[in-house]
């Protein structure tokens, strides 16, 4: 058996070993890695920094993988020297490992420009898991962080730190961000989007020194300007890690020189990954490295033949909502280059193609990168664009999208990050009976890194998997082209706290009467009331906490828990009605009293005189709990429905919901308060309660489904709460419980609520309690208005005599 030694336990080296294993070679493999971790997905360090993924989640090859494949992994051990004459790799422990063949996969290291002060404490680079862990440990809410370098890596680092609560500034030498990949208009759009995220962008700034006594406390620029900094990340570029090869006497320029077979100047030594230089090109992204790995695997196992011919430079930013893609040439002034452009400033979309000799020469996409794959393929295969000329900027009409995947050659690389091609995916689908994207990710790793190929993977699933279940997605509105699920994910993941922030970064900045209230609800629910409330994004009812009527006046419905009132309350209501000349006083269908026709400016005084809390009759929230008299007076009663109803109302009142929530509690199955046609109902039985959900008695009538039968009132109330919070978190805005229950199915809802694990139930209830703790009676704004003119009409400072 031959000894194969791999120096570097990173993405390219290990991917190459995986390819080698496919050839069932006669090798005994040893991998040296000077990081102490098993091979992980370096690309996702940005997600780890941002808190979107844990370090465990980005592992690519577990310890089992090394063991199962008989690979000796020497982790935390660095190769210091290669004795080519004796064919020995000498490591940091002094041990000598003989090799028959050796692969250099040493990657690259962060480039730190010679800035005075770069050695100070709290100055970091961002390359390894250890770097990332240190950054996470040091970043704190309110910390001032400065990222030097406005390229891909710098921007991702900046966003990650910001999501951890730091105040982040990005400084960049050039006057546009990512200037090597973007033209000026694209760079401008990118700057705007980054600033919209709340990151300060300083351009152009030449960093002259890092200030501070031992520990960094500021950054000084060549202009003389200084800014404060508690933490500095240098992301000024990378350089191939070629010192080992150089000292071993291999031919090295910027990187280790390799030919099309990935051979170096020594016939027994090969190189792969970012440490290489091929035809004058060095690398910074994984896709071409995966290609290299496949070629080298053939070369080294005696199947020399396939060649690596290089790759057009390509870059894609992984900041959610800031979609940037660039590949190939950027310079449009080259002779013979035609430009094809598309721009939608309000949605922040910009697409530009450079075409030369009817071949794609370069591409820049901002705001919509869904077509990046098509362009990458055109670039790589130098496709003749003549037949595509009418559809350059958008794919041809959807009818043939299935055709598109059908026509793709089996070798077409679907997932560039992990080097998975169409054949791999189709085989996996057939072999393992895969039906969902999640399973596909698990099996093939496709779409598990940057996620940009998930659309294509879904298309393949649709075409090949017999029972592919498509997630039905409805987008909210044209301002914000995402589904509710995606939006919840975005808001949570990106820590967005205000409606305008969401619209600025992910939408058209304007919003409308559809998305603004929906987003307001979502933010309130997701952050349990700890969001930045923006009343301008609310419907008028929620700005003044009353229901607007056809003549512009408002109706006032005080809360009357369980429909129970008192003579004193009734007297106050009567007094208010007279004092404010309320045109109509009406008993509602929900056991409450409605005062109709109140002027906006009278609202605060009406509420104060009533001295009763808001009944939320104007909003998508907890309306009422209608009760019957139950055991207290009724001769049929078997449960105390009135007390249970009042308790239920106390527990949920003042909370907001996707649509209004009406409830009912009855003391026996005679159902006098119609609990079985309410959103949530409790039906008393002898010795138990039935909790029912999803009833309706509106435009259509629907009998509620049984959620659970329980013995005690306490259990029944808990079951109501579980369903209530689950509905809050998972329904689309303006989706009533009866649509929600039909959409998900009562079985699924039971499993997710009353029959879920204790831990899950506890979490649901904790979030409910957290929201409830901060929810208050909206009518208290009579004393502390949200703004000085919330209820009052503006009086002009001067009157004009007419």
């Amino acid at each position: 058996m031959k000894q194969l030694v791999v120096v570097g336990n990173g993405m390219a080296g290990v991917a190459c070993v995986e390819q080698i294993l496919k050839h069932h070679p006669d090798f005994e493999i040893t991998i040296f890695g000077d990081e102490t971790h098993v091979n992980y997905n370096r690309i996702l360090l940005s997600s780890v920094l941002a808190g979107e993924k844990s370090p465990e989640e980005i592992v690519l090859n577990s310890e089992d993988w090394y063991r199962d494949n008989g690979i000796r992994a020497r982790l935390g051990v660095r190769i210091e020297r290669i004795d080519r004459a004796r064919r020995l790799a000498i490591d940091s422990t002094g041990a000598e490992t003989p090799y028959g063949k050796l692969i250099l996969a040493t990657g690259s290291t962060a480039f730190v420009p010679p800035i005075p002060g770069a050695g100070k404490k709290n100055v970091h680079v961002f390359r390894t898991l250890d770097d990332t862990r240190e950054l996470i440990a040091k970043s704190r809410s309110g910390l001032k962080a400065v990222v030097i370098g406005g390229g891909l890596l710098g921007l991702e680092a900046a966003r990650g730190l910001q999501l951890r609560g730091c105040h982040v500034s990005v400084v960049h030498l050039m006057d546009t961000l990512m200037e090597r990949q973007l033209d000026r208009p694209a760079g401008e759009l990118l700057r705007r989007k980054i600033e919209d995220l709340g990151i300060r962008v300083l351009l152009p700034r030449q960093t002259q020194a890092l200030l501070g006594n031992g520990r960094v406390d500021g950054v000084k620029f060549a202009s003389g300007e200084e800014i404060e900094a508690d933490l500095v990340v240098i992301a000024a570029g990378i350089k191939p890690n070629a010192w080992l090869a150089r000292e071993s006497g291999l031919e090295v320029r910027r990187g280790i020189l390799v030919n099309d077979y990935l051979e170096t100047s020594d016939p027994d030594i090969f190189a792969v990954g970012e440490c290489t230089e091929h035809r004058g090109q060095t690398f910074g992204l994984v896709a071409p490295l995966m290609e290299q790995g496949k070629v080298l695997a053939a070369t080294i196992t005696g199947r020399r033949g396939p060649v690596f011919t290089g790759a057009a430079p390509a870059a894609k930013l992984k900041i959610m909502g800031v979609e940037i893609f660039s590949a190939g040439a950027v310079d449009a002034s080259e002779p013979g280059v035609e430009v094809v452009r598309y721009e939608d400033p309000s949605l922040g979309i910009y697409k530009k193609l450079l075409v030369k000799d009817n071949r794609l020469h370069g591409v820049i996409l901002v705001g919509d990168t869904s077509d990046d794959r098509r362009y990458t393929q055109w670039l790589r295969e130098e496709t003749d664009l003549a037949p595509h000329r009418r559809h350059l900027l958008f794919p041809p009409p959807a009818a043939d999208s299935g055709l598109e995947v059908a026509e793709m050659p089996g070798s077409f690389v679907v997932c560039g990050c992990n080097g998975v091609n169409k054949d791999d995916i189709v085989h996996a689908i057939h072999e393992h009976g895969i039906n969902t994207l999640a399973e596909l990710k698990d099996r093939t790793r496709a779409s598990s890194s940057c996620g940009s190929c998930s659309g294509l993977c879904e298309q393949l699933l649709r075409a090949v998997a017999p029972e592919f279940e498509e997630e039905t997605r409805t987008t909210l509105c044209a301002c914000l082209p995402f589904s509710y699920e995606q939006l919840r994910e975005i808001v949570r993941g990106q820590q967005l706290k205000s409606v305008q922030e969401v619209l600025n970064v992910y939408g058209n900045r304007k919003g409308c009467e559809v998305c603004k209230p929906a987003l307001s609800y979502m933010l309130d629910m997701l952050w349990c009331g700890r969001h930045d409330e923006d009343r301008s994004a609310r419907f008028i009812n929620d700005r003044v906490h009353a229901n607007i009527q056809k003549d512009g006046t408002f109706s006032v419905v005080p809360r009357m828990r369980g429909g129970v009132t008192s003579p004193a309350e009734l007297r106050r209501i009567a007094d208010v009605a007279e004092k404010y000349n309320v045109p109509m006083v009406k008993v509602t269908g929900s056991q409450r009293i409605d005062l109709l026709g109140v002027k906006k400016s009278d609202l605060p005084r009406v509420w104060a005189d009533l001295g009763m809390p808001s009944g939320q009759a104007y909003t998508k929230g907890v309306r009422m709990v209608k009760t019957c008299v139950g055991t207290e007076f009724c001769r049929f009663g078997v449960q105390d429905s009135t007390r249970a109803g009042i308790e239920l109302e106390h527990r949920l009142e003042n909370l907001f919901t996707p649509h209004k929530v009406k409830m009912g509690v009855v003391g026996c199955p005679r159902n006098c308060a119609e609990a079985t046609v309410k959103d949530i109902g409790m039906v008393g039985q002898d010795g138990s309660w039935q909790v029912v959900v999803g009833g309706a008695a509106g435009k259509s009538v629907r009998k509620a489904d049984l959620l659970i039968t329980v013995e005690t009132t306490a259990e029944a109330l808990d079951a109501c709460e579980l369903f209530f919070q689950y509905y809050r978190e998972n329904a689309n805005y303006l989706e009533r419980t009866y649509d929600f229950v039909e959409r998900l199915g009562i079985e699924a809802i039971r499993k997710a609520t009353v029959y879920s694990t204790d831990a899950e139930k506890r979490k649901l209830l904790e979030r409910l309690r957290k929201s409830k703790a901060i929810a208050k009676d909206a009518w208290l704004e009579r004393d502390t208005p949200a703004n000085p003119t919330q209820f009052v009409q503006i009086e002009p400072l001067e009157t004009t005599c007419s």
Binding site: C479, Q500, N508, R509, K510, G511, C512, E513, K516, P517, D534, R535, S536, A537, R538, F539, I540, R543, I548, K550, D551, G552, N787, P788, T789, Q793, I794, E795, P796, L797, E798, T799, T800, S802
Partner: protein
């Protein structure tokens, strides 16, 4: 188009009395106006929706458009025209400016673009 050239700027209120992206009603010289804070500027239209008199000041603002709270008609705050060419409706607009932190409206210079003019 109908323009009254006799200008009569009236000092209305401090800019701070209208939160960003909200509107407020004010009655000046017998006219009920809705003033909106669009962030970088203020605009004024007549407060009454031509549909059924809905209070436009209470509408949700979408860019430079206000959506009537009653039935959702939409009006361009720059021109006063209903958005959507098929809807032949409009409201008056009034010149508005800010001076020393005070919003001023020229009540006499109401401008009304008749929908057919715009379509033509």
């Amino acid at each position: 188009m109908l323009i009254n050239f006799e200008s009569r700027w009236t000092r209305i209120a401090p800019t701070a009395s209208i939160p960003p992206r909200e509107g407020r009603a004010v009655t000046v010289a017998g006219a009920e106006l809705a003033i909106f804070n669009l962030g970088e500027r203020f605009v004024t239209i007549s407060n009454q929706c031509p549909h059924q008199g809905g209070p436009l000041c209470d509408g949700i603002v979408s860019g430079a458009v206000v959506v009537c709270p009653l039935h959702g008609w939409r009006f361009d705050l720059n021109t006063g025209l209903a958005v959507r060419a098929s809807l032949p409706a409009c409201v008056e607009t009034y010149p508005t400016r800010v001076e020393d932190g005070i919003i001023l409206v020229d009540v006499a210079a109401a401008r009304r673009i008749e929908p057919n003019e715009a379509v033509a």
